[in-house]
Symmetry: C2
Subunit: 363 residues, 2 copies
């Protein structure tokens, strides 16, 4: 005669009713009791990659379903000291003008089995306040699209929280980061325009507090000074459409005429600048004046604009950042690494570019 | 002689060294011991709004700073059964084309002292998988910009997790929601165009799976049928630039000529449609053909487009959703409420609109 296993004393429904009467949560012990296995076996069944026999797995899942059991992330976090969450610190500006970066980072993190705890800031300088929350949630790691101070970076080290800085080059800091070389992008754009014979430059730069804006500006200014061109007329914008138009008005009024070229700190300001030149000041672009952007956002490619700009490989950068963080979480650190992606000239229709450059782009 | 309080046996540094030797986390009990108060007093000091004396607070904060104590969100969550997190479920599409909605929701949630656990989906239909994660993290509530099934909504009720559905009208479902009336927006736009004498319509609608696209389409089709106009030629797009251009080509080729008006399911498709009409098909907009959009995104207002479109008050809607969720978390529910915001016609330059309508908009 076949030996049968003894049935558990209570059915799932009876067990559940008892828990309800006691007004408490279903725990892994309830599932273990009902399934006739140990609590640690239940725990292993809910841990990705843990070893467990097929029959145990089936019994545990049946019992868990019967009791509506859901493993508690907070309880697991206390035991494993991992929350399975990655904090993403990102400014409102990045969300509004580079939503693709956020979408890509979120997908890349999720694909690696982690959840995204999102922190948005009005200004990059608000980051201190955010960090105190980050410590409380014991996140597995952090991706920060923000300029962190040396003290803040050290705080990550001291607390042993893996950190990857996204699209910010923290000079002289030992920190894992993934970014596009904005200084080089500024130099390259200035070089292309100078090679095509532009002499008198206007610059509409992004806000003072943006490290990206200041790297691009520094690259352009240093290159133009090196080749002996007069210093450009500079207007400061806010990276938005309106300040592109305002910046062009300011530059033209200070110069008394249109410059040969206006380098805008991003595409959105370039669009404002183009619209102002066309519809308000009646300046022919690029016949009379060249206008360039940075970023290669989608709108820059629409036929009405077709902006000459610089592309950053945002998707590749997001993937690299997520990879780097995953490796840090597994390995518990090592030497800080900086992965620098080169910018790429997009030869649009708003700037005269030297024929030799055009040929090399086409090649 | 003044009575002095006995000093704690160990200094903060000694206490911390002992904890390090034991290779364990600093707990609220360590802080209590060092501060010479009870653990519950420490706990109250870190709970927003809890009552505690000034001197106790000062002693606890000093001890906490000395020990580098950070309250553990996971531990607190187990005790209070609240994680202080709000899950935000949002599709990639919404992030890419309505980044303002995400930025506003995140800010509104943060302003109310909650953290944002972000779940992004490729398709609205992926939501089932996301929900199992949501249950694990024991979030205080959920804002979902997704079409939930009746079963899914019931699961929220059963688990007593407060839910607000954002910008989706779940017909016949008792669920708290905040949305713009897309059906009405479709009717209104069709009515405006018909009143200005347009007779032959093309429709470039959003993807089948989008409830917003289908509401807008239904509103337009029902209105045009009611006033006895011929059924429009319909092309289906993906809400992106390319499908606006493709849609216009399809409509013109099926009709054999340009229709009087093309209603596009969103502004991005309208931009693709305008560029194709101007640069490819040589159709004068709005002289020969009117084109309209929906959403009033920023690009729609740029002079090169100046699109006739419908605005949804996204900022007000985000605020309303966050308010509603906060109230639900406090009150533990009540009658389901639907807050419906009316759409607003933006009288741009891409459609002929009846003078009477223009007058009423100007008034």
């Amino acid at each position: 005669m076949r030996k049968t296993k003894p049935e558990p004393a209570l059915t799932a429904a009876e067990h559940k009713a008892a828990i309800l009467r006691e007004n408490r949560r279903v725990t892994s012990y309830d599932v273990a009791l009902l399934a006739g296995v140990s609590q640690s076996a239940v725990s292993r069944c809910f841990k990705p990659g843990a070893s467990v026999s097929k029959s145990t797995y089936a019994r545990v899942m049946k019992a868990a379903a019967g009791l509506d059991y859901i493993p508690n992330a907070a309880a697991r976090s206390l035991i494993t000291r991992r929350s399975n969450m990655v904090a993403l610190i990102i400014s409102n500006f990045v969300i509004l003008y580079h939503p693709g970066a956020l979408a890509e980072l979120s997908q890349q993190i999720t694909r690696r089995g982690k959840r995204v705890l999102l922190f948005t800031t009005q200004h990059e300088s608000d980051v201190e306040q955010i960090l105190s929350s980050v410590w409380q949630y014991q996140v597995d790691g952090v991706i920060a699209a923000a300029a962190l101070s040396e003290q803040q970076v050290q705080e990550f080290e001291r607390r042993q929280v893996p950190l990857v800085v996204f699209n910010r080059n923290l000079h002289e800091q030992q920190v894992n980061s993934v970014f596009c070389d904005q200084y080089e992008a500024g130099r390259l754009m200035a070089a292309h325009l100078a090679a095509a014979g532009h002499r008198r430059f206007g610059l509409i730069t992004g806000p003072e507090e943006s490290p990206i804006a200041s790297e691009r500006r520094r690259g352009a200014l240093e290159y133009l000074a090196e080749i002996g061109l007069p210093p450009p007329v500079i207007a400061t914008g806010q990276f938005d459409y309106a300040s592109g138009a305002r910046g062009l008005r300011e530059i033209v009024s200070r110069l008394g005429h249109a410059p040969d070229a206006v380098m805008c700190g991003n595409d959105l300001m370039a669009i404002g600048c183009i619209e102002c030149a066309r519809h308000e000041l009646g300046i022919d672009v690029p016949g009379q004046m060249s206008i360039t952007g940075f970023d290669a956002v989608e709108a820059a490619s629409w036929p009405s604009y077709n902006i000459t700009t610089m592309r950053q490989p945002i998707q590749k950068m997001a993937q690299a950042a997520a990879d780097m963080l995953a490796a840090l979480i597994e390995s518990n650190g090592g030497e800080a690494e900086k992965r620098v992606f080169p910018p790429l000239l997009v030869d649009g229709g708003t700037a005269r570019i030297a024929p030799s450059v055009r040929d090399s782009l086409a090649a």
